[in-house]
Subunit: 460 residues, 2 copies
C-alpha cells in the first residue's frame, strides 16, 4: 500500500499560526446591526460597553472596518501550546461511507477545554490582564467555555468566576472539577448569589437554568464588583474575530495542497465556531472572488436560524444585557432538558444572522438521535469521540457525502469538529441504552418566546 499524497493530518508549523485575526465584517456591505442600550434603544457607545467589557475588546466589538487585527505575541505564544490544530482528511469515514466525496475536518478538540473555546478565552483574558483587572466573570453551559476561560485565567494569574447552567452543573460534575483544578470559582445558575438569579428563581422555581440566566448573573457580578469585567464565549463580534484563527489555519492548510472546499459545514449555537471556521472563505465569497456552499447546523430543539425571528432581542433571560439584532427564539425560550449537549442559546451571532439574512449561507436543523448515530459512526472509524455539538456538523457532512455517493460527484466537504465528547458520556450512555429521544418545539412553544421580544423603534 503506498503512502497517500495528502496526509491524514495536515499540521501547519507553529510559525504559520496566523499573525492577525480576520474580521469578516470588514468585507460585509451590510454590516451587522449595532448593539442597543436596552433602556434608551440607542446604539451602545464604547463608553457604555466598557463598564461590561474590557476596553480593547470593546474596540474590537465595534470595529466593522479593519480586516486584519494583529494577534499579540503573548496570545500567539499561548496558541503554540495547542495550535495549529490539525486539519484531518477523513479517509476512514470516506471509505466507510463508500463516497467519492473528499471530507476534511478541522479538529479543535486537542486541548483540555476540549473545544475551540480556548481561542477566544486566552484573547479575552489577555486583554483583561493588560487592562490591569483583577478578574473576569462568565457563564458556561456544557462547560467548554468555562473550562477554556479557567485555563486562560490560570495561565495569566487572573481570578475567574463562572456561572454554570444548573442542569450542566449537576449532569457534568467532572467539568466543574476541571474548572476548579484550574482555580476557577464555579456557581450553579440560577443562584441566590445575585439579584437577578434570585428574581429568576422566584419566577421559575425549579428551573434547570439556561445560558440566558447564567449570562445575567455573570454580568451583574462583573458590573457590580470593582476590577472585574464580563467575558462571553460566543455570539459577540469579538469572539468571531478571535475564532477566525480556525478558518485561517484551515484555509492555509488546504491551500498548501491546492484543495478548495465546495461545501463548508459548522454547528451553530451562538455561532463562534461556525463564524470562525467560515470567516476567510466567507470573505472571498463577499468579495466575489469565490463561491462556497456554507451550511449552519443547529439542533431541531433550539432552531434559532431555521425557525427564529430576525429581530432585536435580549441576549440574556434577566434582560439586563444590551439588545442584539439576531435570529432569535426569544430570550424567554429555554430548550427542553431532554436536549443533550450545548447549542442551547436562544439567539445567534449578529454577524452570522446578517449573513444568513442576506443569503450568504444556509441553515438546517437536525434531531438528536440522528446526531448521535453520526457521532457513533464517526467515532468508530475516525477514532475521535466527538462532542454532541460537533456531531451536528458530522451528521450533515455524512448526509452530503452520501448524496455524493448517489450522484457520483466528488465534492470536497470541510466541516468543523469543534471538540471531544469525553464529558458528555451521560448523553452517550442514554444513546447506548436506546433511551435517547427527540424533541421538536411546536409553533405554540415558540410563540411563548417570541412574545417576549422587546419593542424597539423601527422594528415590527
Amino acid at each position: 500500500m503506498s503512502e497517500t499524497k495528502i496526509p491524514y493530518k495536515i499540521y501547519l508549523d507553529e510559525s504559520e499560526i496566523p499573525d492577525s485575526w480576520y474580521n469578516v465584517r470588514a468585507d460585509m456591505s451590510v454590516k451587522p446591526a449595532p448593539l442597543l442600550n436596552p433602556g434608551t434603544g440607542a446604539p451602545l457607545t464604547a463608553e457604555e460597553m466598557s463598564g461590561i467589557f474590557c476596553e480593547e475588546l470593546v474596540a474590537q466589538e465595534l470595529d466593522n472596518d479593519t480586516a486584519y487585527i494583529p494577534i499579540p505575541q503573548e496570545i500567539r505564544d499561548f496558541y503554540k501550546m495547542y495550535r495549529p490544530s490539525p486539519l484531518i482528511r477523513a479517509y476512514c469515514l470516506e471509505k466507510a461511507l463508500g463516497t467519492p466525496a473528499k471530507i476534511y475536518y478541522k479538529f479543535e478538540g486537542n486541548n483540555t477545554s476540549g473545544s475551540h473555546k480556548l481561542n477566544s478565552a486566552i484573547a479575552q483574558a489577555y486583554y483583561a490582564k493588560k487592562q490591569g483587572l483583577k478578574g473576569v466573570t462568565t457563564e458556561t453551559g456544557a462547560g467548554q467555555w468555562g473550562t477554556a476561560l479557567s485555563m486562560a485565567c490560570a495561565y495569566l494569574g487572573l481570578d475567574c468566576k463562572v456561572f454554570m447552567v444548573k442542569v450542566s452543573y449537576e449532569q457534568k460534575p467532572f467539568r466543574r472539577e476541571v474548572m476548579r483544578t484550574y482555580g476557577a470559582d464555579v456557581t450553579p445558575s440560577p443562584s441566590t448569589t445575585t439579584a437577578v438569579g434570585r428574581k429568576i428563581l422566584e419566577e421559575h422555581p425549579g428551573t434547570t437554568g439556561s445560558l440566558g440566566c447564567a449570562i445575567s448573573e455573570a454580568v451583574e457580578v462583573a458590573t457590580s464588583t470593582p476590577g472585574y469585567r464580563y467575558v462571553l464565549g460566543s455570539v459577540l463580534n469579538q469572539v468571531l474575530l478571535h475564532q477566525s484563527v480556525i478558518g485561517l489555519e484551515a484555509k492555509a492548510a488546504l491551500d498548501k495542497y491546492g484543495v478548495t472546499p465546495d461545501i463548508i459545514i459548522g454547528c451553530a449555537g451562538g455561532g463562534s465556531n461556525l463564524g470562525g471556521l467560515i470567516s476567510p472563505f466567507m470573505g472571498e465569497k463577499l468579495r466575489g472572488e469565490k463561491d462556497y456552499r456554507i451550511i449552519a447546523v443547529e439542533p431541531a430543539s433550539c432552531p434559532s436560524f431555521t425557525r427564529g425571528k430576525f429581530a432585536y432581542d435580549f441576549c440574556d433571560t434577566g434582560k439586563i444585557c444590551p439588545l442584539a439584532k439576531m435570529y432569535t427564539l426569544g430570550s424567554g425560550f429555554i430548550p427542553s432538558p431532554n436536549h443533550a449537549g450545548g447549542l442551547r442559546f436562544h439567539g445567534m451571532s449578529s454577524t452570522l444572522s446578517q449573513l444568513y439574512h442576506d443569503g450568504y449561507m444556509e441553515a438546517t436543523a437536525v434531531e438528536q438521535t440522528a446526531v448521535f448515530e453520526a457521532a457513533e459512526q464517526f467515532a468508530r472509524v475516525e477514532g475521535i469521540l466527538p462532542a454532541p455539538e460537533s456531531s451536528h456538523a458530522i451528521r450533515v457532512a455524512i448526509d452530503e457525502a452520501l448524496k455524493c455517493k448517489e450522484t457520483g460527484e466528488e465534492k470536497t466537504i470541510l466541516f468543523g469538529l469543534t471538540g471531544t465528547g469525553y464529558f458528555d458520556m451521560v448523553a452517550y450512555q442514554k444513546y447506548n441504552d436506546g433511551l435517547m429521544s427527540d424533541y421538536i418545539p411546536t409553533d405554540a412553544d415558540l410563540e411563548i418566546g417570541f412574545k417576549g421580544l422587546p419593542v424597539v423603534p423601527g422594528q415590527a
Copy 2:
C-alpha cells in the same frame, strides 16, 4: 519577542512514523527470563502460548534477537490517525519553576483512549484479525487499555470483551460508556460469569477487584471460547515492543534538533509506557554508545520495583496464567482503594525487571498527594490536564528540575506524559476538596503478598 528556535511542539511528519518497532531485548546481554508453565515449571512453548495469544504475537513475545520488527502498513495507517504524537518543550513549566533545566515531554494523550495504550491495542487487534479470529478478551483497570482495545476492535470489526476492575467500573462509568460506544462488551470484575471470578468472589466477598483478578477472568473466557484469544495491555515483551514507537519518535524528534536528554523519566505500572519510551535510549546504553539516567516512577502504594522481590510469580490473582520473572509484590497483593488511578499491578515487565536488576535504570516511589500537586501545577501552566498515572513522572521531572535550579545545571529532562485525566475527575475532586490522603503499605502488608509467591525450581 522573537520566535524560539525549538518549537513548543515538535511534530514529525506522518512519513516519519517508524517503519519498524525496536526490540530492546536484542541488545540485552542478559535476556529477560522466559515465561514458565505454571503446572510444569518449564519454559512455555510457542504451542502452549498460542492457546492464549495470537500466533504472530507469540512469535514477538519469544523473539529475543531481532532488533527491528517491521510495522505492517495497516497498523501504520491506523497510527496516522493520531501519530506521530507531539514532543513538547515545557517552556511554560520551566518558566514557572525558574529552572535552567530543559524539559521535554512526549505526549501520548491526544487520542480518544487518552493514552499510549492504543499503540499496542491496534497491533494486537490487527494480528487477531489477520489470524481470522472472531474476537479478543482483555482486562482493564483505570480504563485506558479497554478503551484503546475497543477503538482498535471497532476499527477492524472484531468482537471485544472487557473485564473491568470493579472499583473502576463503578468509579468510572464514563470510561465504560466510551467502550460501549465503540461496541465493546464490558463486565465488572470479579464477576459471576467465569469460574475463576466466582472462586475469587467466594474467597474475598466484597472485593473491589484488581488487575490480577480481571486478567484471570479474561484469560478463562479467551481459552474457553472458540475463535477468541486474550490480549494484554502491559507487562508482556510484545507490548513493550509495540510501545517502542513512543521512544523512537521521541528520539527522532530530539535528534532533529540535536538534543540529547540527560535524564529520562517514565511512570511504571506494568511497564508499557516506560519500556516504550526508553527503549531506543536503553539500546544505546546497552550497546555502550551513550549513557542516560533512566528513572522509573511508581506509586508508594504499589511499589513493585522499590519494595518488591525479583522472582517468578503469577501475573494474575487466579493463578491460571504463566509465571513471569519480575519485580513483584505477589499476585495476592491488592492496592488500597485509597489509591487513585492506575499503576495498580502487583508485578512489572520482565524486560524492565531484568534491566533494573542489572543496574541500567533507577526506580523511585512517590506519594499520591505529591503527585496531584505536580499534576495541578503542570495543568495550570502547560494547559494539559494529566492522568494521575502520568503525573507520577511529572512529579519526578519537577523534582529533578528543581534540583537543577539549586545547582544551576542545565540538564535536559525527557519524560513520558502518557495520557490525560479527563476520566479521573473523581480523584481530582478529592484533591480539590483537600480529601486526598496517602497510603504506604507496611512491611507486614507486603509480607502477605510475598507469602503467595510460587515455588519454582532454582528460585529461593
